[in-house]
């Protein structure tokens, strides 16, 4: 069957360097990111294949968001859902809204083509619990058809206390609540109004109700053993100093992760903040707050702030391949194919970790760390052409080895119709402060342009593991004492 060939070929690209199975399946000596050590075993087992919660998993596993929840019950100053551009990537934006049965067809189509799929989430584009019946009906259909998929939902928390029993009964074990404040005075500058108990509330009163409902929902979920992540949007001048207090409040109530995301603000989005000159944080400001919050915020540096209809590995969006008009007859799901992929991933995770450790042992690095950018389409490998990269994964490489520290997009905002010259300028701007960019291949002209901008283009490690390659490259560079020329 054609879809089988597609899926197997995507498995095949990982199989080239497979050796004996390493036999590692859990955290500990191999396979896990270092930061996973900060989590209890039971939590890690739940998230180890979840691309949004585990940095390591995000190289191997895909998620999809299904847009069955168009309506919202609060207004945020950073949100305007009227705007929809297919080239744009930010929460609250979708290209088409789905009924539960359509959502199931879409999930079946994606599961048949994307063996990496491990998670289905409902994150809007409105609020998943504003009109919860559609959300739960959708989850029930998906769980019946594909019980191996993890179910997640994302909510502003206003209606959460009313639905905790149902969430637990349906086996939804990951919930994200967006909590931007624990002080209603600050909340009043973020939320102009909420709709609750058949009326609209405004100002501090609205923010107080929202805050109380968020805390009650968080406590009730964690009491049931459901994993709760808290998302906070970092809004400079409004809640940047306040997020420490938010962190303490949500940790005290059992949230297992606190993810601080940058405000995305641009006048063209038509949001209140965008139109009123409220800026987003600089990468340095974001990192400072994440550092203040400690280990749990570090775990989430791979967050891509996905669209409410995103499909694929984080950083890629295959949503356009699975729009309603492209969905044919429901495709049968082949569990064998998924099991094969899981076996490949298990070996790959182990091999990648071993390669990293071997490189660290072989190369003693004394120099100060540098940042490198990687063009990858997943699998923890350098496997993407420079010109095809919409984003780069950023690694810090130095005496402590190589570790993922974030990502930079070259197309974060909808620019539309940019030619080759503009694309190169955008890429160079995104690579500010980066010592080298690792890719599978790069043309002579882009290489020269990068060199002029002070960025070394490295394609000598094409299709190799990211961390081991970065460490080996850095060791060679420090040995030669100069910026080494590469093939």
């Amino acid at each position: 069957m054609p879809q089988k060939i597609v899926a197997l070929s995507s498995i095949g690209r990982f199989s080239g360097t497979l050796r004996e199975p390493s036999g590692c399946s859990a955290r500990g000596s191999c396979g896990s990111s270092a930061s996973a050590d900060d989590l209890p075993d039971a939590v890690w087992r739940k998230i180890q294949d979840h691309p949004c919660y585990s940095e390591d998993a995000h190289h191997y596993f895909a998620r999809m968001h299904i847009a069955v929840a168009p309506a919202c019950n609060i207004q945020c100053n950073y949100c305007n859902r009227k705007f929809d551009c297919a080239n744009e990537s930010r929460p609250g934006v979708v290209s088409e809204k789905l009924e539960p049965e359509e959502a199931l067809r879409k999930v079946l189509a994606v599961a048949a083509e994307v063996p990496q799929l491990s998670v289905v989430g409902i994150a809007g584009p409105g609020d998943a619990l504003a009109h919860a019946e559609k959300t739960f009906a959708t989850f029930a259909l998906i769980h019946e058809a594909l019980p191996h998929l993890k179910l997640c939902l994302s909510t502003n928390g206003l209606m959460l206390p009313d639905h905790v029993e149902r969430i637990a009964a349906m086996g939804i074990d990951h919930v994200t609540i967006t909590i931007n404040m624990v002080d209603p005075e600050i909340g009043a500058r973020i939320y102009p109004w909420i709709f609750y108990q058949h009326r609209r509330w405004e100002g501090v009163e609205a923010a107080r109700i929202l805050h109380e409902r968020q805390m009650a929902g968080l406590e009730a979920l964690t009491a049931k053993g459901i994993l709760v992540k808290v998302n906070s949007v970092l809004i400079p001048g409004i809640n940047d100093e306040h997020l420490t207090a938010v962190n303490q409040a949500v940790r005290a109530r059992g949230a297992f992760l606190h993810n601080v995301m940058p405000l995305i603000s641009d006048p063209s989005h038509g949001t209140y903040y965008g139109l009123n000159g409220q800026r987003g944080p600089t990468p340095t400001e974001l990192r400072r707050v994440q550092d203040q919050l400690g280990a749990d915020a570090k775990l989430m540096r791979h967050c891509r702030q996905c669209r409410a209809d995103a499909v694929g590995l984080l950083g890629e969006d295959r949503g356009a391949e699975f729009t309603r008009d492209k969905l044919g007859e429901p495709k049968p799901f082949d569990p064998g194919q998924r099991e094969m992929y899981l076996a490949v991933v298990e070996r790959e995770r182990g091999d990648r970790q071993k390669a990293k450790e071997a490189a660290q042992v072989a190369h003693k690095i004394e120099e100060a760390p540098v940042l490198v950018a990687v063009a990858t389409k997943g699998g923890g490998r350098i496997n993407l052409h420079f010109g095809h990269a919409n984003e780069f994964q950023i690694y810090e490489v130095g005496p402590d080895g190589a570790r993922f520290v974030g990502h930079r997009r070259t197309d974060k905002y909808c620019v539309g119709g940019h030619g080759e010259a503009d694309a190169m300028a955008t890429a160079i701007a995104a690579l500010d402060g980066i010592a080298a960019v690792f890719c599978a291949k790069i043309g002579d002209r882009p290489r020269q342009r990068l060199k002029e901008a002070g960025v070394e283009a490295v394609d000598a490690y094409a299709f190799d593991y990211i961390e081991a390659s970065a460490i080996t490259w850095f060791a060679g560079r420090s040995q030669s004492g100069t910026v080494a020329a590469t093939a």
């Binding site: 168009p70 309506a71 919202c72 019950n73 207004q75 859902r81 009227k82 809204k97 409105g126 504003a130 009109h131 709709f195 058949h198 009326r199 609209r200």
Partner: protein, 64 residues
């Protein structure tokens, strides 16, 4: 006595349809409209019109 939806403002989110106590809001192809004969402007049920209170876009659910 009825409300109406200004079509060009409507985002199609459906918040109004869910909140309407009279089942007076219909949708076709993602566009929502109020059936005037069914709309009571929520009189005697709620203190404010539910569609207007729930709608994310100002001045979209208005008096016809």
């Amino acid at each position: 006595m009825a409300f109406k939806i200004i079509a060009e403002n409507c985002t199609g989110c459906g918040a109004c349809q869910f909140e309407c106590p009279n089942n007076a809001i219909s949708s076709k192809g993602g566009l929502f409209s109020i059936i005037a004969g069914k709309c009571t402007e929520c009189k005697g049920i709620y203190p404010t019109q539910q569609c207007a209170a729930a709608c994310p876009i100002p001045k979209t659910c208005v008096k016809a």
